[in-house]
């Protein structure tokens, strides 16, 4: 099966929880979608299960957003293909915690 190396940038608290520094690099089998990348991320780092999306519904947690190539893709279908820049590892998929507070 065709697989791609995908770069993922996590918020600080999730990097700590997963025990990683900097970006995460994942091998993800095609098709490369938000869903397949998150599946691969959670398979590699099981402690992240439930912290980005709900265990059962897989719904995104309210205060997290997904960005690809400076575009907010949080409300797009998780089964849409990710941009070529992400699938070719030129750009990371960004998982960002909302900035909230005063």
């Amino acid at each position: 099966m065709n697989s791609h190396r995908i770069r993922v940038e996590l918020p600080q608290h999730l990097r700590t929880l997963a025990g990683v520094r900097g970006e995460v690099s994942l091998e993800v089998a095609a098709p490369i979608t938000l869903r397949s990348v998150l599946d691969a991320l959670e398979a590699r780092y099981p402690t992240l299960r439930g912290t980005i999306r709900d265990h059962d519904t897989l719904k995104r947690r309210d205060f997290l957003r997904f960005f690809a190539c400076e575009e907010d893709i949080s409300h797009k279908s998780p089964d849409e293909p990710l941009p070529e820049e992400v699938t070719s590892a030129k750009e990371p998929l960004l998982i960002i915690g909302a900035i909230a507070g005063g």
Partner: protein, 371 residues
């Protein structure tokens, strides 16, 4: 020589405070899980090196951590709390039906004799357990499904199951408390439950003596008298001597009987402690004076304990799980405040001193007495 380890959960991480039996000099470790809310940490009575912690965040949800070395290192365990069956609805603040939704773990209660067996009290109120050290959690659905669940409503802090007490003489008997549903008891290890709220009077609900709907803030028990429980309700300090079948008000001469914490002296089962708070609309001590009140008569007759505590301009709160006692010969009493202080008394409350003054707001305090 004996040691004590104080487990402090705060709004921005966990702290572990250790001292020898004198309890004068303290080592402070932390923050662990910096930036996360630590609702509760508790050690196993069967293995003091085993500690569980509830780590939560509005952004990232729930994580449960486990330590096998007294809190030096931690590993995340399972964080999936799935209600059994179709959870149905409880009441929302306005009385309309609202679906049960998991939000966080408020309280972790390790069983008395198995470090891998732990109960978890969650919001929206339910009780879960793990028997494999946290690798998986399963609900004891008999609590939510015994019949009154659809009538439960959240308190101001959410609909949380915040107190779990296992009877040391009969581990099949467990008491729990929910804001704002009340107290409940099982006598068969969690399969079936019943409300135990007779004698409670809550004038702020439509039927002040209703079977459920009471805003119980905390319950405490002395292990030598498992049929006697002490309760800090929203307003009112209560006691029962028949395992919750009937409660009696013991507020007595307290200057205000609103509050959150209540605890029992380790060696004197009729000596109890509360921290009176001015009111439910002003969550701070009366007149800006932080006072612990002690009763040596199981309630009704109370004395203020003020030595070493601020007696002017103090406007902190002491939350429901933020008081604990140690088991040393001279019983130590500990509590944490929303101002980030953790106060300790090594002489059963006669005098107090802060262990730390400037932590994030304290959510919970537990104590381990180590050989």
């Amino acid at each position: 020589m004996s040691k004590v380890r104080v487990l402090v959960g705060t709004r921005k991480g966990a702290f572990i405070l250790t001292s020898d039996g004198k309890r004068e000099k303290w080592d402070i470790s932390g923050p662990h899980f910096a930036g996360w809310e630590i609702y509760h940490m508790k050690g196993s009575p069967a293995d003091t090196n085993r500690i569980y912690a509830s780590q939560t965040s509005g952004w990232f949800g729930q994580v449960v951590q486990r330590s096998n070395d007294g809190g030096q290192t931690w590993e995340p365990v399972d964080n999936k709390f799935a209600y059994a069956h179709n959870p149905g609805t409880h009441q929302w603040y306005d009385g309309t039906p609202h679906p049960w939704e998991f939000k966080r773990v408020w309280h972790l209660e390790p069983s008395l004799n198995d470090p891998d067996h732990v109960y978890a009290g969650i919001e929206d109120a339910a009780i879960f357990e793990t028997k494999d050290g946290g690798k998986s959690w399963s609900e004891l659905p008999g609590l939510r499904e015994h019949g009154t669940g659809p009538k439960w409503q959240p308190g101001a802090g959410g609909m949380c199951l915040h107190t779990i007490i296992v009877d040391p003489r009969d581990p099949n008997r467990i008491y729990i408390a929910i804001s704002a549903a009340g107290a409940f008891r099982t006598d068969d290890g969690g399969n079936t439950w019943k409300p135990i709220n007779q004698g409670l009077y809550s004038k702020y609900i439509p039927d002040p003596t209703a079977e459920v709907g009471h805003c119980v803030h905390h319950i405490a028990m002395h292990p030598s008298r498992p049929n006697t429980l002490f309760m800090q309700k929203h307003w009112d300090v209560m006691r029962t001597d028949n395992a919750g079948d009937q409660w009696t008000k013991v507020s007595g001469n307290l200057p205000t009987d609103f509050g959150f914490v209540i605890d029992v002296h380790a060696h004197e089962p009729e000596t109890i402690y509360v921290v009176p708070i001015k009111s439910d609309s002003e969550h701070f001590p009366l007149d800006g004076k932080l006072q612990v009140f002690r009763s040596r008569t199981g309630g009704n007759e109370w004395e203020p304990l003020t030595k070493g505590l601020p007696q002017s301009d103090c406007y902190v709160n002491v939350l429901r799980d933020a008081m604990a006692v140690d088991k040393l010969d001279s019983c130590g009493v500990y509590f944490g405040t929303t101002g980030g202080q953790v106060y300790a008394s090594a002489n059963a409350g006669d005098t107090w001193a802060p262990i730390v003054r400037d932590l994030p707001a304290v959510l919970s305090v537990e104590v381990q007495t180590l050989a």
